[in-house]
Symmetry: C2
Subunit: 119 residues, 2 copies
Amino acid sequence: MNAASYLQLDRVIHERGRLAIMSLLAATTELPFTGIRDALEMTDGNVTTHLRTLQEAGYVAVTKSFQKGRPHTTVALTVTGRKAFQHHVDLLAQIVERARSGPSFEARVMSGGRLRPQS
Amino acid sequence: MNAASYLQLDRVIHERGRLAIMSLLAATTELPFTGIRDALEMTDGNVTTHLRTLQEAGYVAVTKSFQKGRPHTTVALTVTGRKAFQHHVDLLAQIVERARSGPSFEARVMSGGRLRPQS
DNA sequence: TCCGTCCACTTTGCAATACAAAGTAACTTC
DNA sequence: GAAGTTACTTTGTATTGCAAAGTGGACGGA
């Protein structure tokens, strides 16, 4: 429960756009490329690059096919992705809680001297 | 309660490092530069630049002085900053909630067609 | 009193990346 | 068969997160 637990925040997930995508995917099972783009009002290019980043991290599975001669891409969370997102959400929940509890123990701990662990 | 409400996420606050700083400040009243650096295990330069960004956004007030011949910098949230952070936290709370509720209405709404508002 | 070191920052340089405009490719409509 | 639409991907740019190096004042030893 260190204040520096923020370091655990996964940058791949934390970025605005990707947080939104992960959030959306977590609430469903699978979404088409266009569904993501339209729901989040993102540009096509933006969706593509974020999906690539998420895919490279192993957080989403991207399935490409042709339907009626058109490319059709669907995206789903992987098990890893769902776990990572869950963990991220837990960290955010901690931040939310601490922020809502207002000035607390940290005020007493922090105002004093150095706390740097064991550099 | 749109899925695209993620667009409201303030980039100045959302960035990992600054979210941590804001979070820390929200829990106290005022902190020294070194307190932030040590609590979050950040490099000096990192703290400086994030503080500048937050200051330029009007979210924190930075006070510089000399104490015992050493520079001494303290940081506190402004009223604007506290409000903005609160709003941000509320948005995060929404994401957390939705993520925890699992597959829900969005699954039904989204899997179908286009929803792009009125482009 | 000069030298080196420490502390508390700030400046600078680089590598990463978010974003949209432009490009591609297959189909459909006029 | 030309023009438009859909579903993406590639490319260029401008931003920015980050740490290494720099600054300046205080202090301790020789």
